[in-house]
Symmetry: C3
Subunit: 270 residues, 3 copies
Amino acid sequence: VEDLKMQEAHMMSISPRAQLGERVRLGLGVRIYDHVKVGDDCEIGDFVILGHPTQNAKWAGKTLQIPPGSVIRSHTVLYEGSRFTSSLETGHHVVIREGTEAGDNLRIGNYSDIEGDCTIGDYCRFHGYVHVGKGSRVGHFARLYSLVTLTNDPLPPSHVLQGVSVGDGAVLCVGVTVLPGADLGVGAFICSGSQAKGKIAAGSVVLENRPVFGIHRLRSLEHQIVHPWMNHFKDAYPESAWERLDKLKAEILVSAKAFERSSQPFIKRA
Amino acid sequence: VEDLKMQEAHMMSISPRAQLGERVRLGLGVRIYDHVKVGDDCEIGDFVILGHPTQNAKWAGKTLQIPPGSVIRSHTVLYEGSRFTSSLETGHHVVIREGTEAGDNLRIGNYSDIEGDCTIGDYCRFHGYVHVGKGSRVGHFARLYSLVTLTNDPLPPSHVLQGVSVGDGAVLCVGVTVLPGADLGVGAFICSGSQAKGKIAAGSVVLENRPVFGIHRLRSLEHQIVHPWMNHFKDAYPESAWERLDKLKAEILVSAKAFERSSQPFIKRA
Amino acid sequence: VEDLKMQEAHMMSISPRAQLGERVRLGLGVRIYDHVKVGDDCEIGDFVILGHPTQNAKWAGKTLQIPPGSVIRSHTVLYEGSRFTSSLETGHHVVIREGTEAGDNLRIGNYSDIEGDCTIGDYCRFHGYVHVGKGSRVGHFARLYSLVTLTNDPLPPSHVLQGVSVGDGAVLCVGVTVLPGADLGVGAFICSGSQAKGKIAAGSVVLENRPVFGIHRLRSLEHQIVHPWMNHFKDAYPESAWERLDKLKAEILVSAKAFERSSQPFIKRA
């Protein structure tokens, strides 16, 4: 066993300029470049690359900051010049490029790709194969499910960059594409496979590419749950975030009802 | 050359508790954790991780069983607590999590992600970027093409888990999303880009999100082929499976015709 | 620091039969098999596999040719038996299989998968999660955005292989699926989420699965850009390619107008 541990110790390449905290666990074949700061108690999986150099002059040489308690799973590549304010958790095979500025406790699923030059709020949850284009602005507590794509080029290919904006507490279901420049209001809910474009009212549900009703109509009698999702899913977040979630829920509910009053014609669905 | 081989031998981390069969070939940088049993004649590619620990108490410490003759391609991550009854074949960059119980000869394409706590029958074929959510039940001889997603949360986010069920011999074409709790009958055929929800009749074809006709109408005069696919594609499976395929074909054909008799209104298409 | 460099030098497996040019930089854990030729000044990232063996007899033992100045990013797998005429650039976690014959300066994004037995012209740009099925023929200057899938089986599963054809300068937006045997004309533009099938007229725009108008109607007053994209995006290509782009632009413009004259009924949209 000691021999195996020895081997592991030799199978990586850590720059002497990188700053590693206490009790950082490093997997097999880890590569850490110069401009990297890893907080205490982090777990860095096998075949992970931290601080990958960028050719983008704005971010080259800037530090990649991995906060204490982060878990970076295997085969993940994080570029230099990105910051995360508290515990980051990635799945396997994730890529995050330079200039990503994210808040507390971002969690990203397998094969997701954040293209950089973007801001992401606190407690966001991205599932697998999520693609965040450059210039995106994602609020707090947003949830992006598998295969969600945030685009940015309004007339591809062009040199125009119109990043999207995703409001706090928004839910983007499987396979949603957010078109360039779209502005999704707080608590918007985009149904599976829809495209979201233009301004999407806060608290509205987008079905087949257009807002149709307020999110308080999303409910299941069988399971006794009703949106906003903070009603039944608050406990999936740390208790320290609950007060913020309560406020956000109230705000979304007000918006959802305001949306229904204002929208003409309104498509009624049970 | 001998020197190179020496290097390879040193570039991996194999737990002394793992059980490796005869003639197992190990790639560069392979990591094998404690709770792993690898059968004879397996081929484990470069940068593969076997028996990755899980935090799921139900499966932690349970053995990952890789059957004899399996091929695990590079950059793949298999968690502890999963079983495969005979030769497993994965593409590159695959992830399979804890609690996956699969039958004979499962083949999975590049970048596919099986989230665990699911059952998969014999001789299934998954292409690339396939996502199998927790709680899924997939029958025998099912075929899932690229970007197929099996979901499980009926009102995301929630704590409700409604896995989907995919019948024997079903075909899910490119980009299909199966909605939570959907129950796809034996031999159902879901066309490219469709969503499948609710109960889908055995032997029916789902086009633009609804069942439209029996699968015996899927035919090509030019290529002289007609569904059920066992008519013209049985030879892609081992001869030992042919009798089962013949029975399944007969069952699907009966269901397809029954579907057409029972469905009102019936949408006729050439 | 010297020690670290030593370690790196030992953490790879390079076949003595492989041919490496001058100033080739090799990352951590690189594996290079026998039938590989790497040109001068290439950069091979960490955990990359070059010349992965194939079981396809047509290509087994044939050389993988990586041209001078190529950049192969981390965790990428390139099979033996593929050729690229000038500088290839891949993202992270790319897979390219045997029998891919590509022209100058192909660039492929993260997680893209080229299944081999296909031809790709000069200066093509593929973003992330792009899947190129066997038998595809892609022209010069084609642009495939995220999650584009080129399929090939007209009645899955079958033994029929009907690869698609993508014309020079065509643009396939996010999430486009090209159905088996489709023939996309020069400069065709397929909108996000559409399926493209059959023969698509040169210079036409496909919206919601059918061609609707000529690409010269794709314009933005705000940003003062108008398609063909060579009008405003030529500078993203090397100057040596500009003359070809000018000719292609003229050809596309003629086709776009011809499409509008010939198409009946024509759906007018501002």
